[in-house]
Amino acid sequence: MPDSQTKIRVIVAKPGLDGHDRGAKVIARALRDAGMEVIYTGLRQTPSQIVQTVIQEDAYCLCISILSGAHNHLFPEILKLLGEADVQDVLILGGGIIPPEDVPALKKLGVSEVFGPGTSTSDTVKYIREHVQPRA
């Protein structure tokens, strides 16, 4: 966990064609109100654009919101590209409409946690604070 001096930088990303940004915007505001710096990608980002953003912004955490049912395609794609770029120290979280039975496979790929509908934003904040990896 980083000390209080360093700001936690989080990317809130919307991959795919899905335009439902209610959840992404609510979580972005909640993270900001918890004192974090949130980089919002905007809608319809390709996996490679998201990975470039993670690298350029040196993010501690990447939150990916998908409500279109394309999570089994988009998550593996993003994680594959992160792996190819040798990005190891970023906490990956998922949110949106993701059936519980799909979660184990996503976790195996490297998604730390999936926050489905009804998750309290304070749970997400707490999870990020406890799980991001320290930066020098």
């Binding site: 001096q5 360093t6 700001k7 930088r9 972005a28 505001r29 993270l31 900001r32 109100d33 918890a34 004192g35 974090m36 710096e37 949130v38 980089i39 919002y40 990608t41 905007g42 980002q45 390709t46 490679s48 654009q49 470039q52 953003t53 690298i55 350029q56 912004e57 040196d58 770029a85 040798d86 990005v87 930066r135 020098a136």
Partner: protein, 318 residues
């Protein structure tokens, strides 16, 4: 391989991590700045400022695309305010930079103003230097021109663009924010809206009121950034300014001024750091603070006891 080696080999992840160090003021960041300083002064920096809603990000996106066509490597730094209450921020300028997202020769970094001691301008100035040392040809710095802090930030850049749009209400917003004086090129964006010519006229009038006309006469360019209209012309005016700086030796002057400013900032930070460390570690500090809090002692007296004026000269900097 250590971070600086990777940085020198052009590793963008090392660049990104180094910016984090510099932004957070870590020992690694400070050491890196010392090491890199000599390698700065090559890339061109362009500050872009203007009131909210003037389409700055879209304009930066388009301007960078023009420079990309000329083969220049581009870095962009977008600064947005931190919340004064929580210290958090939402940085969303990337949303509008769609033309650049897939370009491997473009690097975009979002920064929150944070409002730390030493000021935003120091942090951004350092980040600009890191990007310069990395080898970018043009470094664009975008800020919301709303206050003095932002004006200071834009002064870091050798060429300043001030963006206005028609229809934002009473008069030109830049006058209020005091950023008219720092503009080298003025842009009337969204110029397909009614009133664009009038805004351009107003800017020219304001500039002509300047009692001592500077050797550089700032041009006013009209653009429609969402359509890319006028952006080539804007790029041309920026280049003209570069040529002007080079021809008049002004670039060297600018860099010299920035170096002096850097020295002053570094000294100020260290002095403040040293002073506060010295004061806060004194055993009587907490007691005096309590007294001030309860109104039993005024803050001037407490300050005299903790840090008497004539004590300053006795400081020994590390």
């Amino acid at each position: 391989m250590d971070l600086m080696d990777r940085f020198r080999q052009g590793d963008r992840r090392a660049l990104a991590r180094l910016i984090t160090h510099v932004e957070n003021g870590t020992p690694v960041g400070r050491a890196a700045m010392r090491e890199l300083y000599g390698a700065t002064g090559r890339g061109r920096s362009i500050g872009v400022t203007g009131p909210p809603g003037t389409g700055k990000s879209t304009l930066v996106d388009q301007l960078a695309s023009v420079f990309r066509k000329e083969g220049l490597r581009i870095a962009i730094v977008c600064v947005d305010p931190s919340s004064p209450f929580t210290g958090g921020a939402i940085l969303a300028d990337r949303v509008r930079m769609r033309h650049l997202q897939d370009d491997p020769e473009v690097f975009i970094r979002s920064m929150a103003s944070r409002g730390a001691l030493g000021g935003l301008s120091r942090a951004t100035g350092s980040v600009l230097k890191v990007l310069d040392a990395f080898g970018f040809d043009v470094i664009l710095l975008e800020t919301v021109g709303v206050g003095q802090g932002e004006v200071e930030v834009v002064r870091e850049a050798e060429t300043c663009l001030v963006i206005e749009v028609p229809g934002l209400g009473d008069g030109i917003q830049a006058i209020k924010a005091g950023i008219l004086e720092i503009g080298h090129v003025f842009v009337v964006n969204k110029s397909d809206n009614p009133g664009a010519d009038r805004v351009a006229e107003q800017i020219l009038t304001m500039l002509s009121l300047n009692p001592v006309p500077p050797p550089w006469q700032p041009p006013v360019v009209q653009t429609v950034a969402t359509k890319g209209a006028g952006v080539e012309d804007l790029a041309r005016q920026v280049r003209r300014h570069w040529e002007h700086l080079d021809a008049q030796n002004l670039r060297r002057e600018h860099l010299g001024r920035r170096r002096i400013a850097d020295l002053a900032e570094i000294l100020k930070c260290r002095a403040l750091g040293a002073a506060s460390q010295r004061v806060l570690s004194r055993p009587e500090y907490s007691e005096l603070r309590r007294k001030v809090e309860l109104g039993q002692m005024d803050p001037y007296e407490a300050a005299d006891r903790l840090l008497p004026f004539d004590g300053i000269e006795e400081w020994r900097l590390p």
